[in-house]
């Protein structure tokens, strides 16, 4: 299994978790640590890499390009949707810059099949 997860830092306080949920994408709402979540799916993490810097760059770039194309986007999406999307992305950027939102690459294998090279 391989994927990217947006998550809070390890052991966030209740306030940090709430703030992260408020600022982050709708999917950021789990209080379960990544390792526990992965294990509960029957997988074991074999590689993990923090990609928050890239996440920050991408989020910032999306905001900037959307700002640059504001007129076109407002015309096509409607002003309400445009402003809503900008707000959401700004919230995510704020969450990243406050250290509340991180993104990681996680690679995991099913332990009992690891030696057979199957089930990634």
């Amino acid at each position: 299994m391989a994927g990217y997860l947006i998550h809070t830092p390890a052991a966030p306080s209740a306030f940090e978790r709430e703030r992260a949920a408020e600022l982050g994408p709708a999917e950021v709402n789990s209080s379960t640590p990544i390792e526990a979540m992965t294990q509960s799916s029957g997988f074991e993490i074999v590689a993990q890499r923090d990609v928050t810097e890239s996440f920050h760059r991408t989020c910032k770039a999306i905001l900037e390009v959307r700002k640059r194309l504001e007129r076109e986007l407002r015309a096509e999406e409607g002003s309400e949707f445009y402003e809503e999307e900008q707000g959401k992305k700004l919230g995510t950027l704020t969450g990243i810059e406050e250290g509340l939102l991180r993104r990681s690459l996680i690679v995991a294998l099913k332990p009992y099949r690891r030696s057979l090279g199957g089930s990634r």
């Binding site: 990217y4 999917e27 770039a61 999406e77 690459l105 990634r120």
Partner: protein
């Protein structure tokens, strides 16, 4: 017209989110920042999708499961690169319709299954897939 207040993270929230088609300008944003255009709602660039492909080491004959696939990214990218089969799953039907359109636009020779399913309770037997991929869906 006043917009309906939709609870963030609710099923209706995601259905609404995916009901919108990708606009021309929206496509320009995606291409400029992420390097592709599928109506993405996440942050996975082409380079990062390629990295997932590298880690999974799939090839023709394998079958990949993309959990919470949205409009089909990054699963469709991995299929194009590896030649493996693919099943995409998500809950909002609007997302899955887009995934089907994205699949068709790529003229893939591989089989792509599109199934409405919640990642917390997938309807597949253990061992059905050679690999699993997800992006910005589990948090």
């Amino acid at each position: 017209m006043a917009s309906k207040k939709i609870e963030k993270g609710s099923a209706y929230y995601f259905q609404e989110k995916y009901s919108r088609s990708l606009t021309l300008a929206g496509g320009k944003v995606e291409r400029a920042v992420l390097g592709h255009e599928v109506g993405l709602n996440g942050y996975t660039t082409v380079e990062q999708a390629q990295e997932l492909y590298d880690y999974l080491e799939l090839s023709e004959g394998d079958r990949l499961l993309d959990v919470g696939s949205g409009r089909g990214w990054p699963g469709l990218h991995i299929v194009e690169k590896s030649g493996c089969g693919l099943v995409v799953t998500d809950v909002p039907l609007a997302a899955l319709r887009h995934a089907r359109n994205n699949e068709l636009s790529r003229h893939l020779s591989q089989e792509v299954g599109i199934i409405a399913a919640d990642g917390r309770n997938l309807p597949f037997r253990s061992g059905s897939f050679s690999g699993v991929v997800h992006a910005d869906v589990i948090c």
